[in-house]
Symmetry: C2
Subunit: 203 residues, 2 copies
Amino acid sequence: MARPAYSQEQKLEIETSIRETALKLFSQEGYRSVSLRAIAREMELSATALYRYFDNKDALLAAIRAEGFQQLREQLNTVRNNAASGLEAAREGIIGYISFGLEKPELYSLMYELDQRDFEETPLVFESRRRAFAEAEAIAKDMLKEGGQTGNANQMAHLFWISAHGLVALAVANQLDLGQDLDQLIEPVLQSTLLGITHSQGD
Amino acid sequence: MARPAYSQEQKLEIETSIRETALKLFSQEGYRSVSLRAIAREMELSATALYRYFDNKDALLAAIRAEGFQQLREQLNTVRNNAASGLEAAREGIIGYISFGLEKPELYSLMYELDQRDFEETPLVFESRRRAFAEAEAIAKDMLKEGGQTGNANQMAHLFWISAHGLVALAVANQLDLGQDLDQLIEPVLQSTLLGITHSQGD
DNA sequence: GTGTTAAAGTAACATCGTTAACTTAACGGG
DNA sequence: CCCGTTAAGTTAACGATGTTACTTTAACAC
C-alpha cells in the first residue's frame, strides 16, 4: 500500500478553504465572472487541483449553497432552543432569517441562484435547504402544541418562509422601491406574517 | 446617401423575434447553457449578426427581463382598471401576480436572475420593474382613498409584492416542501397578505 | 453604372471549464 | 536502503464561448 498523505481533516480543511476563497470571489465579482483559474490563483494552486476536491465549478457552488443553508438552519435552531414561547420563537425566527440574509447578502444570493438548472439536480443543496425549512416547521409545531390548537404546521412554516424569503430576496437584489428605511419595512412584514400565521391555525 | 433598408418597425420585429427565440431556448436549457451561436442558428443568422440588435448576451437577457416586467405591469394594470373596489383590486392583483409567475415560470426565473451583477447596472430592467411595482402602489392608494383612511401605500404595496414574490420565487425554483397541493397554499398566502395590508393601514 | 452604407458573414482572439497525461513525493515491504 | 505504489499536484491541450475586427453583399441616391 501507499500513503494516505492527507488526513480526512486536512482534506476537509482544504475543501473549506476552497469554499471560502470561492465565496469571497463570487461575492466580489459574481459567480459567472470568477474563473476556476482565478480561485486557484488566489489559493496558489493550479486550476486543475481544485478538481480533486470538487467535481466541477457547479459542484463547488452547490457546496457553498449547502453550507449557507446549514448556517441558516443553525440560526433557526438556536432561536427555537432559546425562545421562551412558540410565538416568540416564530417572531425571533423570522427576524433571524431576515438578519441572516441581510448580513450575508452575497451568500444569500448564491443560495437562491436560479440559473442552476433545476434544484433537484443538486441533492446536496436540496437536502440542506429542506433541513433548514424543517426548523421552521418545528417552530410552527411548537406553537400549535403550546396553544393546544389544531392547525397545519407545514402551512404556517410556508407563510413564515415565503415572507422572509420574499423580503430578503428583494432586498439583497436591490429591488425594493423604499421611500423609507429598510428597517422600517421589517417590522410591518413581521407583524403581518405573525398575524397571518396565527390566523391560519384554524385551517 | 444610402439605404435605411430596414424600417424602424422591421428592426423592432427582428429584435422581438430574437428575444422570443432566446427566451424559448433559455427556458429550455437555462441562460448559461445557451450560446449566442445556438440562438443564431435557430434564427438562421450568424452569431455576430445578433450584435446589431443587442450589445451583448447580457443585454439580450436584460431586454427579455424588461419585457417580462412590462407584461406583469400590464396584468396588474388591467386588474386595477377592472376591479370593483380597492380591496378586490388588491386581492385580484395578488392573484394576478402569482398567476403570471406560475404560468411563465421560466420567464419569471429569468426576470429575477440574481447572478446579474447589481440590478442598477441594467437601467432598462430596473425601470421596467419599477413601473410594475408602481401599479401595486396605485392599487394601495386606491384602497386608502376608498376607505378614507390614512396609511402608507408604499408599505402596503411592499407587503403585497413581498408575499407574491416570495411564493412565486420559491414555487418556480421548486423550493416548497409541500405536503399538500400548491393551490392550497395560495389561498392562505392571499388571506394572510390581505390581513397584513389592511392592518398596516393605521401606520 | 457607381458610390455609399446598412446588414450580414467570416475569421480570429482570449478565455473558459474540463480532461488526459505526466511529475513529484511520501509511505510500506523486502 | 531501495523500490513499487499511489495521493497530490502540474502542464498541456481540447472544444466551446463571448466578442471584435475585417470583409462581403445588396439596395438605394445620383
